[in-house]
């Protein structure tokens, strides 16, 4: 196991955070935070709909701005930070990737569910052809074992990914889970390994540190943890934690604290994400973090227990993109209770 001294922080505030405000961030909000993150020398700022390019839909939530408008809102203020976008084939397409790179995306993250790395082949090749940096991540990674995740990551490196890794999309992991998975992946690939945490069990910062100690060198984080469900790894807490553990990030602590204050003032319309009962149950059940708001809404309308909805969604193996299962599960539970 080799741990790197330098950790690259990947700021997903303006992408994952969109889940908690219904994908309604406007250009002024995007720009204000991007400017503050850039001033803090955060290496990369990701922007977009919560589910990435092409995600705007009735199913997942309609964004206020088109993909291109979101990129354009932040492009010219990112003088230091690189601009990242996220795309999952099946939701976004090669056409969306071309548009995003043309509009100024420097890094394109191509995503697939945990065992479906082969769906990224053509899109990773396209990103490389366009001259942008290609990264690849596996979503809902708790649903596959470490060996399988490593195999999929190695496959995505062969497709052209210049960094690969996993998202704890459900916030299900404890540190042991992360150490085992990241360690297995890091041993299988020779490109930087990515970890993206969620805070359902209040372990996002601890899990991110465990990931670094197991060999990850690209860590996703969000100001005030602004992200889907119980939120992401809190950026301005992770920076000093990593520094105290002997890692460099290149991020200016005081400026990143100011950026987080800007996020709180400008972005967090529904307050900072918290690890509440719904979040804990969602994480334990292994449900996609961004199901939080639609589950709470549908459960309240039908008068059923939202915790039971998370449990049932987990039992059915619901994955990101299957928001249409939520009303069905709520109806099923309402009928059972009647």
């Amino acid at each position: 196991m080799t741990t790197t001294a330098h950790v690259i922080l990947h700021d997903a505030t303006l992408r994952d955070g969109q889940h908690s405000v219904g994908h309604r961030l406007d250009a002024g909000q995007l720009r204000a935070y991007a400017e503050a993150a850039n001033a803090a020398r955060v290496p990369l700022v990701e922007v977009g709909h919560g589910n990435g390019l092409g995600g705007s839909s009735l199913q997942i939530g309609q964004a206020l701005l088109e993909d291109r408008a979101m990129i354009e809102a932040v492009r010219d203020v990112l003088t230091h930070s690189r601009l990242g976008v996220f795309v999952a084939p099946g939701w976004g397409t090669g056409h969306d990737i071309r548009d995003a790179v043309r509009a100024g995306a420097d890094v394109v993250r191509v995503a697939a569910h945990c065992t479906l790395g082969d769906t990224t082949e053509r899109h990773l090749a396209l990103v490389r052809d366009l001259g942008a940096e290609a990264q690849a991540v596996l979503l809902m990674s708790h649903m596959a074992d470490p060996g399988r995740l490593a195999e999929e990551c190695a496959r995505m490196v062969a497709f052209g990914a210049q960094a690969v890794g996993i998202m704890d999309s459900a916030g299900h992991y404890t540190m042991r889970d992360v150490t085992e998975r990241i360690g297995t992946i890091a041993a299988a690939v020779d490109v930087p390994v990515i970890f993206h945490g969620h805070n359902n069990l209040a372990l996002a910062v601890a899990n991110s540190l465990a990931a670094v100690q197991a060999g990850a060198s690209v860590i996703d984080a969000c100001a005030r943890g602004f992200g889907a469900g119980a939120g992401n790894t809190q950026l301005e807490a992770l920076v000093p934690v990593l520094e105290r553990e002997g890692h460099t990030t290149g991020v200016d602590l005081h400026a990143v604290l100011r950026a987080a204050d800007t996020a709180e003032a400008r972005l967090l319309e529904n307050g900072a994400p918290t690890t509440d009962s719904a979040g804990i149950m969602s994480g334990l059940a292994g449900v996609f973090s961004a199901f939080r708001l639609p589950v709470l809404r549908a459960a309240a309308e039908a008068g059923v227990d939202p915790l039971a909805v998370f449990t049932e969604l987990g039992r059915r193996g619901a994955v990101a993109g299957q928001e249409d299962l939520i009303p069905e599960v709520v109806r099923h539970l309402a009928k059972a209770a009647a």
């Binding site: 009735l58 084939p89 939701w91 397409t93 569910h113 479906l116 769906t119 082949e121 193996g317 299957q322």
Partner: protein, 291 residues
């Protein structure tokens, strides 16, 4: 007295192609004359065990085989060449890839095009599942936006299908526009790693004006029953909700009969549709007396 069956070839011995070959062995008006791949594979060996002639010669083996019908179950990228090679031959080409350059057909909606057209596109499994209920709904409202979300079990989608997600989205969208007349269409598709795998699921949402809720619900239920009774027994309308200009139609498709795993409803509906279209073509040819 039955007329002699038409001879059919299948290109691509993958998940779709093998199940197609098996279906052809049960058809009274079609016979599986050839399964063609590009190299020796477990798929071709299985086709051989089904009693089909097989070849590693790809499209070249098909053009020389004297067949009446070709099912293309290869990939969107390979399809244009297959089309070009077969164009002049007077052969019916039924395309199961999402290349989408043929006449898009769904048997219970516009299946009669199989009588006259020689290049049919199934569009996608999602299009085949959504088309019957969408077309029925669109007769009782004026949709201005239609969104279709499909989720298939990972194990029911082979390597070509996984590479062709962009074409799947484009061609499913074209089918939805054709069957609803909606000016704006959005398609999302997910492959689920969940185990045990869930049945193929399609949800279509229409934003529409002038809807007649009672007539719409009735038409959608009837359309689903026609698919279930004539084509795919595991086709189930799970929900049909009409509220304030928003119409949500949810369909689950399971494979039945024990040959395919139950979750592979996507394979079942596109293959059953392809065979039904080819059978309709065969019936029309027999009537015209040009076998």
């Amino acid at each position: 007295m039955h007329p002699p069956p038409l001879r059919a070839a299948v290109i691509g011995p993958g998940l779709l192609g093998l199940d197609l070959a098996e279906r052809l062995t049960r058809s009274s008006s079609l016979v599986c004359a050839l399964v063609a791949g590009r190299h020796s594979s477990a798929g071709l060996r299985r086709a051989e065990r089904l009693g089909c002639a097989v070849s590693t010669g790809g499209i070249d083996a098909v053009t020389g085989s004297g067949v009446d019908i070709v099912f293309d179950a290869s990939s969107a990228a390979a399809h244009p060449r297959h089309r070009a090679e077969l164009a002049a031959a007077g052969i019916l080409l039924v395309d199961l890839t999402p290349a989408g350059d043929g006449t898009i057909a769904a048997p219970t909606v516009n299946g009669d095009v199989a009588r006259s057209r020689l290049h049919l596109s199934l569009a996608s499994c999602g299009a085949q599942a959504a088309a019957p209920v969408l077309a029925a709904a669109a007769r009782h409202c004026t949709p201005h936006y239609v969104e279709v979300v499909t989720t298939a079990a990972a194990a029911s989608v082979g390597p070509a299908g996984r590479r062709d997600l962009d074409e799947y989205i484009a061609t499913t969208g074209a089918a939805v526009r054709q069957f609803t007349g909606a000016p704006r269409v959005k398609v999302l598709t997910s492959l689920s790693p969940a185990l045990p795998a869930l049945a193929f699921r399609v949800q279509a949402t229409l934003l529409a004006a002038d809807d007649d809720p009672d007539a719409l619900r009735e038409a959608v239920k009837t359309a689903a029953a026609v698919v279930r009774d004539s084509l795919v027994p595991g086709y189930r309308l799970a929900d049909c909700a009409v509220t304030g200009g928003r119409i949500t139609l949810t369909v689950d498709v399971s494979a039945t009969g024990g040959r395919l795993p139950a979750y592979a409803g996507n394979v079942e509906i596109i293959n059953a549709s392809a065979v039904a279209l080819a059978e309709r073509h065969a019936a029309a040819r027999t009537l015209r007396g040009t076998p």
